[in-house]
């Protein structure tokens, strides 16, 4: 019953919006194209990346699209590592371009800045306007015009071993960043289970996507736009304060390898059953638990927990509130620390042959029904009105809290090149052993600034 009401409302809303768009007497936006429901016999293609969007949502998009336009929606899945290559070759090709495509939020500035996407500013308000996640909107904006809009967001927060922290003498999670830095050092020094190479906080030496929170939390940033040009700001005093805190963590609380990146952190807080009750002094059966705390994207929680065996005999991991806990990384000002926001944007290809139908698809994706479906499936909806659909368990709360203050990488045209050149990984890997952080920061500013402005 509820669904029908929502469905009907969505339909009516779509109808009203369509009328409104038509009746504003030809908007003067660059595209000047209104959504179209005239899709009989036509097919449009949507590229979704990775397995993030679950099948029921894809089916919904197809059926809704057909219902509204009598056209066919073809969904193709691309994979993250090759997405840039494929967009580079396919988007400029009018015969083979996808009509609508998902794109990583950090990749979006690179493509929007070269005109790969259609100007959809005229649709901005209708699709959600200021209710949409503004940092993602900024990633899709060039010179005040919108080219891509947020699709969904993810976030990162802290997972920790309550039992290990308790043995080290800490029973409540920290409420400020300063306290967090101190707590993880305490846990590392205590190492209550006497585990070799134990980390109070496992932070990979090249994991800048998590480490960057310390820069953000102190008010610093990677780069800013100054007089029309982007400049790297690693040597800014606020950034430096964050770098100093990171150095202390690397030295006192963290035993992760210097070249470890942002992946699979969850394995370090899990236990290995085969040595249950034993400690790590026996070289033949080492514990797998190697860290008391990690920071990871929200979906890591599916892989954290007690080891078990299911009906078929396969091994499983089940969350256990007594042993494991979560909290958003706290800032020093009462708000959660700004974390690097994961997630995607979505836009229409500039060479699409069906811009009207594509805009209709966008309307479906930004409709309340679809936004709530995203939330229910653990993907943060772009429209903040529907954030509550994420639920209220500790994971949803942590996700919502940590993303409320999230930040993105600079929306510079050359940012994708910066990421591709792995200069951020290189920079972070050198922080631990640096004797002069200011000089290091200046050195990498000089490397990054020229790349930022390349188109």
């Amino acid at each position: 019953m509820k669904r029908r009401v929502w469905g009907a409302t969505a339909f009516a809303l779509a109808g009203v919006l369509a009328l409104a768009a038509c009746s504003t007497g030809g908007s003067t936006s660059a595209s000047g194209i209104a959504p179209s429901t005239n899709g009989k016999g036509k097919t449009i293609t949507l590229w979704l990346v990775g397995a993030d969007t679950p099948q029921p949502l894809r089916d919904y998009l197809k059926t809704e699209f057909h219902k509204l336009t009598k056209g066919t929606l073809n969904i193709e899945q691309q994979e993250w590592p090759d997405l840039v290559t494929k967009l580079t070759t396919s988007l400029p090709d009018k015969n083979n371009t996808p009509d609508v495509t998902e794109i990583g939020n950090t990749q979006s500035p690179t493509f929007t800045n070269v005109g790969a996407f259609l100007d959809i500013s005229s649709q901005y308000k209708a699709l959600g306007g200021s209710k949409l996640l503004q940092s993602f909107v900024a990633a899709g904006e060039v010179d005040g015009k919108n080219y891509t809009l947020p699709y969904y967001f993810g976030s990162r927060y802290v997972f920790y071993r309550k039992d290990v922290w308790a043995k080290a003498g800490i029973t409540t999670p920290p409420t400020t960043l300063t306290e967090f830095n101190k707590d993880v050092a305490t846990v590392a020094a205590a190492n209550p289970d006497n585990i070799p190479n134990f980390s109070g906080f496992y932070l990979g030496g090249e994991d800048w996507r998590d480490g960057i929170s310390w820069i953000f939390a102190n008010g610093g940033d990677i780069a800013k736009k100054e007089g029309g040009k982007w400049v790297a700001t690693l040597d800014d005093p606020k950034t430096l304060k964050g770098l100093q805190q990171l150095q202390a963590i690397y030295k006192n609380a963290d035993n992760a390898p210097g070249d470890a990146q942002d992946s699979n952190q969850y394995i370090y807080v899990n236990d290995n059953d085969s040595i249950a009750g034993k400690t790590a002094t026996d070289a033949a059966t080492p514990v797998s638990l190697a860290a008391a705390t990690i920071m990871a994207p929200g979906w890591a929680h599916w892989s954290i927990g007690d080891k078990g065996v299911d009906a078929k005999g396969a091994v499983t991991r089940t969350w256990n509130d007594a042993t494991f806990g979560t909290f958003p990384l706290p800032g020093d000002n009462g708000k959660p620390a700004p974390v690097f926001a994961g997630g995607s944007n979505i836009g229409i290809s500039a060479k699409s042959k069906n811009p009207g139908l594509s805009e209709e698809l966008l309307k479906i994706m930004f409709s309340p029904t679809y936004q709530q479906m995203l939330g229910k499936n653990g993907l943060g909806p772009a429209n903040s009105d529907y954030t509550s659909s994420l639920g209220s368990d500790q994971f949803a709360s942590a996700l919502i809290a940590s993303s409320s203050n999230s930040k993105l990488t600079p929306a510079a045209p050359g940012w994708a090149s910066v990421e591709a050149s792995t200069v951020m990984e290189e920079f972070f890997s050198k922080i631990k052993d640096s004797t002069d952080l200011t000089a290091l920061a200046k050195q990498y500013d000089a490397k990054i600034t020229p790349i930022l402005n390349t188109k």
Binding site: T89, S90, N96, Y152, S274, W299, A314, L379
Partner: protein, 291 residues
């Protein structure tokens, strides 16, 4: 070092030298070292992801199951990708062998103007790095409408492998003396008949060796396929395998499934190999020496 006589035959006395024992041990060690990663792949494919993440390696698939295989095939994308790879590989092997064989005939049996240039060209073309070509290859295929098509990708693959194959076959062809054919012609056969009845069968091992190499290249190729087969309705197996390796917003990488998928991709090649193995080594025997 006592010679051991076999009581039955008596014609030969087989002496087991210490040298043979040492060589055998070393040989077995070499075999084990080379096969270990293959074994590890299959072993891991039978275990679950959670077990694979443990700090203690699990050496034998005890408690394992075929669950990963079912999961990986159950997605419904394996069979189309397998079909695509098989068709492409078959086309590429057939056309590459044909074209290379004809060209090898030309350069080893004839002197003609431009022969040297052609030989140099096929040598040097193999030296161009492939990583930078994908934009041009995409534009080419797009402009002649051969994106997402078996033919498009096959043409690119044939071009990629033909130089090396010409070189390999040249050695085999040159190794078969013309006199054999001429002797047959004296006996009344036409040149074509002589060729097919005498020369061609001698070439068979060489063709098989080249065919296997070509098959391998076509089966495992990734970059060209990625660019020229953008639609996920027309994936080859390497592209399909890629999809399993990536973690996403809602789940981490399942390594057991990755290994199961890898085993499935490797399996047809291994079967094919074992099938032609005998003929191939004899092919390399007769041909390589002339190369």
């Amino acid at each position: 070092m006592t010679p051991s006589t076999s009581s039955g035959t008596g014609l030969r006395r087989r002496r087991v030298k210490p040298r043979t024992i040492i060589l055998s041990i070393v040989g077995i060690l070499v075999a084990l070292v080379w096969i270990f990663p293959v074994y590890w792949m299959v072993n891991s494919s039978l275990l679950s992801n959670v077990v694979l993440q443990d700090a203690t390696p699990t050496f034998a698939p005890i408690g394992g199951s075929l669950a990963n295989f079912f999961a990986v095939v159950g997605g419904g994308t394996f069979l189309p990708a397998l079909g695509m790879s098989v068709v492409i590989a078959a086309i590429v092997v057939a056309f590459c062998l044909l074209f290379a064989f004809l060209a090898a005939l030309a350069i080893s049996r004839f002197r003609f103007r431009g022969r040297r240039g052609f030989v140099l060209a096929i040598l040097f073309i193999q030296m161009l790095p492939a990583e930078g070509l994908f934009i041009a290859q995409y534009k080419l295929m797009s402009s002649i409408g051969l994106l997402n098509s078996v033919i498009g990708v096959s043409v690119l693959y044939v071009a990629a492998v033909v130089p090396f194959t010409i070189w390999m076959l040249r050695g085999f062809v040159a190794g078969i003396p013309l006199e054999l054919e001429e002797a047959a012609m004296v006996d009344g056969l036409s040149r074509t008949q002589a060729f097919f009845r005498i020369t061609f069968p001698l070439l068979a091992p060489g063709l098989i060796a080249s065919g296997v190499y070509t098959f391998l290249q076509a089966w495992n190729e990734f970059t060209i396929a990625l660019v020229v087969l953008p639609s996920d309705a027309s994936q080859t197996l390497p592209l399909w395998l890629r999809g399993f390796i990536q973690a996403s917003a809602t789940h981490a990488t399942d390594w057991g499934q990755v290994m199961a998928a890898s085993t499935l991709v490797a399996l047809p090649v291994i079967i094919f190999f074992l099938f032609v193995q005998g003929r191939m080594t004899s092919g390399l025997v007769s041909g390589a020496v002339k190369g």
